[in-house]
């Protein structure tokens, strides 16, 4: 829809400073681990997430002329990684459908009790009960050790929301994994999903 007076937005391309290819590469490598967290939160596969981050670099290079270097590189790249990862999910889901597999048949499904599993497996299953944004925020906080303002920047959400996602995600994981430490356990079916 063409912009009307009420909906017209500032045109980001006007007077935008540009990144060179070399500057892009430097920014990309610096942000790559954070971007991996974004991809992993959606894909839950280490190697695939790495591939998606690299694929996103190619997509970003094609669109580099659109990026205003005075805005947040991490936020821009995170958005591209998110879209690329979602595409990958869709592609895989299509392939699964074609192969006659149901999502419930996937290994590591988060549903149900996980009696007899090791701590890491239980943790993996518990991670699946979180939503993607919460998972990404949690990984950025714990794995990357990012400050909330940096998580907020990368995820394009307010700092307080990032903090709240981490808080609730940690709590949800503790509730799910409490049995390992003799603590009360939350019910399995997403009841405490943030």
């Amino acid at each position: 829809m063409a912009p009307s007076a009420e909906t017209a937005r500032p045109h980001v391309h006007a007077h935008a400073s540009r990144l060179s290819d070399q500057e892009f590469a430097v920014h990309f490598e610096r942000a790559s681990r954070t971007l991996w967290c974004v991809a992993f939160a959606i894909l839950r596969d280490r190697e695939l997430s790495r591939d998606v981050v690299q694929e996103s670099a190619i997509v970003a290079m094609r669109k580099l002329g659109e990026f205003d270097a005075s805005t947040s590189f991490n936020a821009w790249m995170s958005q591209i990684v998110r879209y690329t990862a979602m595409n990958e999910v869709r592609r895989r889901s299509r392939r699964r459908e074609n192969a006659g597999l149901d999502a419930a048949e996937r290994p590591g499904s988060a549903h149900g009790h996980h009696v007899g599993l090791g701590f890491d497996q239980k943790l993996t299953a518990a991670l699946e009960t979180l939503d993607e944004t919460a998972r990404a925020c949690l990984l950025m906080k714990i794995v990357m050790g990012l400050e909330y303002r940096d998580i907020s920047d990368a995820m394009g959400i307010p700092e307080g929301t990032a903090m709240s996602h981490v808080f609730r995600a940690r709590k949800a994981l503790r509730e799910r994994l409490g049995d390992s430490f003799g603590l009360p356990v939350a019910p399995p079916a997403g009841g405490t999903r943030p």
Binding site: A2, R9, L35, C37, R46, Q54, E55, R62
Partner: protein, 280 residues
């Protein structure tokens, strides 16, 4: 005078602050005393440490190097999202008004030119067509340098991913009709129908493209809980959208006066298009 005791904070909140290292002074001392006396708190803290340690181990990742990018990677006409590159040397087809040409052809069908004149006429027509196409393309490129074509399915998916939230909402039928008229030159309204919720309009700048033209209007609707996208544009700009391949979505088309409308839907039948009409 004894100090005013701290208001006890919620268990999880204070634990979280301790983990984040934001507890200090009296609060920290108080928490450490609680740790000594409350086995459950100790267990929670131990559990959280174990979770953090496992996550760091499971998700440790080295910086990812830039991939090797070939020139071919940078001129790919359509990316995974169905986006056409803005400055691609081979842009997607220009929405040339073919229907108008066919109509004109029909009107002149009864007159057959002499055989010797046919080649001349054909050559002149070709020259005119090329000139017109060149001018049209030049005009188009100059007018909309940033316009990107986006496949309707990609547009639908993006709208779903971003929450199916309209950017502009019309509250009344006259408001709806006036907006369509302002954008497309002809008013159109949707007859209120049970089970169909007209949410509002998407703003294509939010999605980096449009399936038909820069002027395409995108109406977000919900049919009995199912997200259904309706595209509206002038028939002269129609691109004759093709049925999607590799997607469960379907596309239906309907012309209403000088406007063309499409319904992109997971349903087997168009539900919104039949409700659209020109106001009396």
């Amino acid at each position: 005078m004894s100090p005013i005791p701290h208001e006890p904070q919620p268990f999880d909140e204070i634990l979280e602050r301790f983990i984040d290292g934001t507890l200090a002074g009296d609060e920290l001392a108080s928490f450490e005393r609680r740790l000594e006396n409350e086995p459950e708190l100790r267990a929670q803290l131990e559990l959280q440490s174990r979770i953090d340690e496992s996550l760091r181990r499971m998700c440790s990742i080295e910086p990812i190097p830039m991939p090797i990018i070939t020139p071919a990677d940078l001129v790919q006409p359509l990316d995974e999202d169905g986006l056409a590159e803005p400055n691609n040397p081979s842009p997607a087809p220009i929405p040339f008004p073919l229907s108008a040409m066919q109509d004109a052809g029909d009107q002149h069908q009864t007159r057959q030119p002499a055989p010797w004149r046919r080649w001349g006429i054909l050559a002149a027509a070709a020259a005119l067509l090329l000139t017109f196409a060149g001018l049209y393309r030049g005009y188009w490129d100059a007018r909309v340098p940033d316009f990107r074509l986006m496949e309707p399915v990609a547009m639908y998916d993006r709208l779903v991913r971003t929450g199916w939230v309209p950017a502009v909402v019309c509250r009344t039928e006259p408001e709806f009709a006036a907006l369509v008229k302002e954008k497309l030159g002809t008013a159109l309204v949707a007859t209120a129908t049970p089970g169909i919720e007209v949410l509002g309009w998407g703003y294509q700048d939010d999605y980096d493209g449009s399936p038909i033209s820069p002027g395409t209007m995108m109406l977000l609707t919900r049919v009995e809980g199912v997200d259904v996208l309706v595209l509206m544009d002038k028939t002269s700009r129609d691109r004759r959208l093709k049925p999607p391949t590799g997607s469960s979505l379907k596309i239906f088309r309907r012309e209403i006066g000088p406007l063309v409308t499409y319904e992109v839907t997971p349903l087997d039948q168009p539900k919104v298009l039949p409700t659209l009409r020109q106001p009396e």
